[in-house]
């Protein structure tokens, strides 16, 4: 009875909003190995830099992924600004933090919902997404978009948030925090949920490091690493520490994200208190000449933007390494030896964003 079978998983699969394909080599119900096949969403947008100039390309960068859209746009701007030696005004930097953290909150709530769906807790799924809508309301009020903000630009941001509005946002977030706590309690305290998450998909600290895991996946394996600690865009002036968990299973990854919800609310609050009046952008003159690797922390982990310019208005090369791409190898490791029924939950705990990964 122990013959090996290959079970194809995806690309169209009920738990996946996006297509990824895994060939699961199974022995009875146990997964021996997983071989990924990607490329279903590959568009080749990195080559668009040859057709859109470095200012216009922000729009493309924002559309690499519709969930962490703002941070994509912002990181692209960070890369170009560093190449061109542009100093972004302080107010714009704090506004970037506010929108980045709002993105993180909505992305984590989205993930919590999808995970609840993956382990079959439909009402928890709905509750998480109901809460997410409240965050989207704030985003829509401040940027005009629900998922694509269109607010980042080279040299600053496009929109301002007034002081009164900022206070109102902080107040709203404080009141939502209680609701987030409530769903957090279900995720972390409910027995049936724990039964699905605890001890499932363990990624040891050593393998997390060796396989290059990033983001919550890495922090849940006991490694303290958060690119925000590098202090880009004034994160350095805020007081916070990476959120680390030691259990290294799906439960720990869930816990990291739930704790990050609180952290993000705190960061928005301190960014709001430090925001001083001033311009929100600077005029951009000249063209990029040089190269730089910009790094930032997305909800899913570290993202890298490499920009290389040769003094014309079209960049020579723009490359994105997204967190999901880095987390694929660790995912394959965690799938080894798991039960077939746990595959969807484990795949979801890396918070896969396939459109990011394949560009």
């Amino acid at each position: 009875m122990s013959g090996r079978t290959i079970i194809p998983f995806g690309p169209q699969h009920p738990v996946l909003p996006e297509p990824i394909h895994l060939d699961l080599v199974v022995e009875d119900e146990k997964v021996i190995e997983a071989i990924p096949r990607i490329g279903f969403i590959h568009r080749g947008l990195e080559r668009l830099v040859e057709k859109k100039d470095f200012i216009d390309f922000v729009y493309v960068a924002e559309r690499i992924c519709g969930i962490c859209s703002f941070i994509h746009g912002m990181t692209y701007c960070l890369a170009v600004e560093e190449v061109m030696k542009i100093e972004v005004p302080a107010r714009a930097q704090y506004l970037r933090i506010v929108w980045s953290e709002l993105s993180r909150i909505h992305s984590h709530l989205l993930w919590l919902g999808l995970t609840a769906d993956a382990f079959g807790f439909e009402s928890l799924f709905m509750q998480s997404w109901r809460l997410r809508e409240l965050i989207l309301d704030i985003i829509e009020e401040t940027t005009g978009g629900r998922v694509i903000f269109g607010s980042a630009k080279v040299g600053g941001v496009r929109r301002d948030i007034s002081a009164e509005k900022m206070q109102e946002i902080v107040k709203k977030l404080r009141s939502y925090q209680k609701e987030m706590d409530d769903i957090g309690k279900v995720f972390l305290g409910d027995l049936t949920v724990q039964h699905r998450l605890r001890g499932v998909g363990v990624l040891s600290t050593a393998s997390a490091k060796a396989l290059g895991a990033v983001g919550p996946m890495l922090r849940a394996s006991g490694v303290s690493s958060d690119i925000r600690m590098m202090g880009y865009s004034s994160y350095g002036t805020l007081d916070f520490a990476p959120i680390v968990e030691q259990d290294a299973d799906c439960y720990a990854r869930c816990k990291v994200r739930i704790r990050e919800l609180d952290q993000s609310v705190g960061l928005i609050e301190s960014a709001a208190s430090k925001m001083i009046d001033g311009p929100i952008d600077v005029k951009v003159t000249g063209t990029p000449n040089g190269e730089f690797f910009a790094r930032s922390e997305q909800p899913r982990g570290e993202v890298i933007y490499y920009a290389k310019g040769n003094g014309t208005k079209f960049l020579q090369r723009m490359r994105v390494r997204t967190p999901t791409f880095a987390n694929i190898t660790p995912l394959l490791e965690t799938l080894k030896g798991c039960q077939l029924a746990d595959v969807p939950v484990i795949v979801l705990t890396i918070d896969p964003c396939i459109s990011c990964a394949e560009r």
């Binding site: 071989i35 096949r37 990607i38 490329g39 590959h42 080749g44 990195e46 080559r47 040859e50 560093e82 490091k209 060796a210 396989l211 290059g212 690493s225 690119i227 600690m229 590098m230 880009y232 190269e291 730089f292 690797f293 790094r295 570290e302 890298i304 490499y306 290389k308 020579q316 090369r317 490359r319 390494r321 791409f325 880095a326 694929i328 190898t329 394949e358």
Partner: protein, 121 residues
């Protein structure tokens, strides 16, 4: 934020990768850039926010490049990617998709001159 990019030769690649691995660096990414006459490979490593890059210049895509997936397993994804998109001849990858990693309408799209693409439409 200063970034260190070190130029290396093809022969040094494996030694450097092993050295970084021994020091506890993780592989951040491998990136390929097509320049007018040459191709450039950049290997980036990171350890506690310390970011280092190695730059390898290749005269053309057919120059054989050893895979570092024996040292850093995740490298196989990046190497398959640059093999499919740029046509770089990487050998010895831990998992070799043999050009089926990305399925693209045209072969090695990043290594084509810009005009070639216009015809597609």
């Amino acid at each position: 934020m200063a970034q260190e990019i070190m130029d290396i030769t093809l022969g040094e690649l494996m030694d450097k990768a092993r050295k970084y691995q021994a020091q506890g660096f993780r592989l951040v990414q491998i990136c390929c850039t097509k320049l007018p006459d040459t191709l450039e490979l950049q290997y980036s490593f990171d350890k506690e926010y310390d970011f280092k890059s190695l730059r390898l210049t290749l005269p053309d895509a057919s120059t054989p490049v050893p895979s570092i997936s024996g040292v850093y397993l995740p490298a196989f994804l990046y190497e398959n990617e640059i093999h499919d998109l740029f046509g770089i001849n990487v050998h010895g990858m831990a998992v070799d998709y043999k050009g089926h990693f990305y399925m693209t309408a045209i072969k090695t799209p990043f290594n084509q001159p810009a005009q070639a693409e216009e015809k597609k439409a």
